[in-house]
């Protein structure tokens, strides 16, 4: 079995309306891929119950190396945190075929 490698998993929860632009910037940070699921929730900007287009959230996951993770987090902070409903967190994950990320 191939040895496992430690990578970062960055999870971002934010507004659906950001999807296109956010994805573009995430790729510019060096991410080779991402996964998106639809979500709803509540946070400092109130309830976002996915009932109305403007109230829909997405949950974006990116597996990447530490450098890309840092770049993404920096980018989020610079460009999005102030004006958008957004939460993000980072974890260590072990992956196979680490060259993919």
């Amino acid at each position: 079995m191939t040895a496992d490698t430690i990578k970062k998993l960055v999870t971002i929860i934010t507004e659906l309306s950001l999807e296109t632009t956010l994805i573009r910037e995430i790729e510019q940070c060096g991410a080779t891929g991402y996964t998106i699921t639809n979500a709803r929730g509540k946070g400092s900007r109130g309830e976002r119950d996915a009932e109305w287009d403007a109230d829909r959230n997405i949950r974006v996951e990116i597996v990447c190396n530490a450098k890309v993770a840092e770049a993404i987090n920096y980018m989020l902070q610079e460009k999005y945190y102030d004006h958008f409903a957004m939460v993000s967190f980072t974890q260590d994950v072990s992956v196979l075929r680490a060259n993919k990320f």
């Binding site: 507004e15 309306s17 632009t21 109130g46 996915a50 009932e51 109305w52 287009d53 403007a54 102030d82 004006h83 958008f84």
Partner: protein, 314 residues
């Protein structure tokens, strides 16, 4: 005797205020909206095939100018009297300078149920009216020398579902003609009022949820969200007279101009003016102006149109 579609709207508001779990499933809501937009487009397109472009062009131009002026008129009111931040004032102004297709659909259905004729090419003016206020809103928020990526913005506007479906419907109606369209009438025309009823049920539920978040935004927003459509309706009436519209057409045009956007403009503003609080403008537009126009506005603008025609005619 009340039109059942209005009853569906009231039912939606009531169910929402009573915190019922009732919701139109989101994809069904999208579907219902698509059908309404296509139907309105198709009807307009059928009419287009009977009209000279030269009669309509000046109306399109006039309406475009109104779409530029309305937000310029609303902005200072919101900024100075309302005390809103620049971005918020600009965003709300853009919502009220643009239009609501749902409100238009109810006006159409109102005229149809009273057998009142109106100019059927109004959907074209609807399309024209959606856009200018967005541009003005962005300029108001960011100034002329701002860093707006107009390519992204114009894609957001023109690639948005609403505009695309309206224009697509218009073109399909235009190319198909009355005979061609017959085979798809059962879905797009016969079901129209039933579909509109479901749409209004969901809009009632949404309005109710926005009404609940109203108190935190104060009285000014409520007053604005009622006064602004009334003033806009007056402009609409004048334009109707200017264009030589029938009473019905005048009233529908007034409704159109009095309506406030809650789909195209919020989406565009979120991308272009992210510092504006989206809850503010949606609360006004969905929580107050939409129900006001549906329940009170449309019959009122109809009366205004009658009066105006009497005055002019007399």
């Amino acid at each position: 005797m009340l039109d059942p579609i209005i009853l569906f709207f009231i039912f939606g508001i009531a169910a929402g205020l009573l915190r019922s779990e009732l919701r139109l499933p989101s994809q069904v809501y999208d579907f219902v909206s698509m059908l309404l937009l296509l139907t309105i487009g198709l009807k307009g397109g059928l009419e287009l095939s009977k009209q000279e472009f030269s009669t309509i062009a000046p109306q399109m131009f006039a309406v475009f100018v109104v779409g530029l002026i309305l937000p310029l008129f609303a902005y200072p009111i919101l900024k100075i009297w309302g005390g809103f931040k620049r971005a918020d004032a600009a965003s709300i102004a853009a919502h009220y300078g643009s239009v609501s297709v749902g409100t238009y659909a109810v006006a159409v259905s109102y005229m149809a149920s009273l057998n009142i004729h109106f100019e059927e090419h109004l959907p074209i003016l609807l399309v024209v009216l959606e856009i200018p206020a967005i541009i003005v809103g962005i300029l108001l928020a960011k100034g002329l020398s701002n860093g707006t990526n107009w390519k992204v913005v114009s894609h957001e506007i023109f690639a948005g579902k609403g505009i695309v479906l309206l224009i697509g419907g218009l073109l399909i109606g235009w190319f198909s003609g009355v005979e061609g369209i017959k085979t798809i009438e059962p879905l797009f025309f016969d079901l129209f009022k039933g579909i509109l009823a479901l749409f209004l049920l969901e809009m009632g539920l949404i309005s109710a949820s926005k009404i609940s978040s109203l108190k935190q935004y104060g009285l000014f927003l409520v007053i604005f969200a009622i006064t602004m459509p009334l003033l806009s309706a007056l402009i609409g009436i004048s334009m109707g007279l200017m264009f030589g519209f029938s009473i019905g057409g005048t009233a529908v045009l007034a409704t159109l101009i009095a309506s406030a956007s809650y789909i195209a403009v919020p989406a565009a503003m979120r991308i272009s003016v992210p510092e504006a609080n989206p809850t503010l403008s949606l609360t006004a537009s969905l929580g107050i102006t939409f129900p006001f126009n549906i329940l009170i506005g449309i019959p009122l603008y109809h009366q205004m149109a009658i009066k105006a025609h009497q005055i002019i005619g007399g």
